[in-house]
Symmetry: C2
Subunit: 210 residues, 2 copies
DNA sequence: TAGATTGTTAATCGATTAACAATC
DNA sequence: TAGATTGTTAATCGATTAACAATC
């Protein structure tokens, strides 16, 4: 069925990577077909919700059969935009920035860290897994001369907005923000936040209920 | 008003750390009082929602006045359980585990990394910012002999469930999971996930809409 | 074919927003 | 007091679940 992308709610969108994870896992375990019911049991969702979710993008299943795991995985692969190669740069070459650069897991889905940037002279000139650390002053030139699809911000929160403004000025449309602050952006720029302290406080909050 | 903790929805709970962030920021900028309306403008929520959220925990405001920033911040501090000291250990001393150990930002809210654990002999015996890296074989003994409130799992996904089972066996009730897998736990054990790849794929998904 | 399971519509549930009386 | 703003109830909206006809 044709892939028609209507409005997709935040809730549905957030479940897509999870489907992708489970389907990738099942495929590598040689599972060929799955019903919404069985998938619901594995994932802790309802079968109804799963069918509703997939039908936001068109029907991928077959009555009486269920879903072909490889096919469905491929569809979600496409939906998530993992067919594209995405270069990203990491701003802030501290521990977290270096951890992102060192992590190779994203590469097999086409996400490649091309460079890091920092203000610290002791970091500038280093190379992390072959990825160079440049002076932050070279940021704009670098973006202008290279294909950069995304920027990860791993600076202290005090610098995050300033950095964001700068890269947005360079035409960047997608920011992966690790700084503990909400970044203000124009409507055509996407920010995906990873607020580690929010996550930790949530864990702490729930510990109180035990 | 008395602090009565009824059922708090996931949605409300997820907003609490954000309130805490904004209130901390406002307090340090010397702002003394705030109305739900003004807070809503700063945070991009509705005033109604903010009042509903706070009233899950009892009323913290005053008609005609609004909310006292310091007081409200303190209330949320308590709600999040940040009055308690929480020791945690990090399992998996790779880049991400080391980044967590190196990050000092959690400490001022009472979260202290006490030890790291790994299987890699080249890492065992090291010390990260004074925090020792132990052999994973010492995990159970360490937990038995020390106060450990939380465990962060930063291992490859293949090892995560096994590690989780082990620490749950030692009585740990709170897991901060960074491995790209959903961990199965008994109902009295809390898992807070930080799935970086899910987050990245979400960003990629939304880039397709631009 | 009969059984299974989808795609999709309808019903329910929960979260957000609006409204307003209470009150500082 | 009059004005402002909360706490709270009622209305709306959206997301989840249930149901079932379509069909493989």
């Amino acid at each position: 069925m044709a892939r028609e992308k209507n409005y997709v709610s935040e809730a549905v969108m957030r479940r897509m990577p999870k489907y992708y994870r489970y389907l990738t896992d099942m495929e590598s375990n040689g599972i060929e077909r799955i019903s919404s019911k069985e998938l619901s049991q594995r994932m802790g969702l309802t079968a109804s919700q799963i069918r509703q979710d997939f039908n936001c993008f068109g029907g991928f299943g077959q009555q009486g059969y269920g879903y072909n795991v490889s096919e469905l995985r491929q569809e979600i692969h496409n939906i998530l935009g993992l067919t594209n190669d995405n270069n990203f740069i990491v701003i802030g070459a501290g521990n977290l920035g270096q951890a992102l650069a060192n992590y190779t897991g994203f590469e097999k889905e086409g996400f490649t860290v091309k460079a890091l940037f920092d203000i610290n002279p002791r970091l500038i000139g280093l190379s992390i897994r072959g990825i160079p650390v440049y002076d932050i002053d070279e940021l704009e030139t670098h973006i202008a001369r290279n294909q950069v699809h995304m920027v990860a911000i791993c600076t202290p929160k005090e610098k995050a907005q300033e950095i964001a403004d700068k890269v947005i000025g360079c035409g960047i449309k997608a920011i992966w923000n690790f700084a503990a602050i909400d970044i203000a952006t124009p409507p055509d720029v996407i920010v995906e936040n990873v607020h580690l302290s929010d996550s930790l406080y949530t864990l702490s909050f729930r510990m109180n209920d035990l």
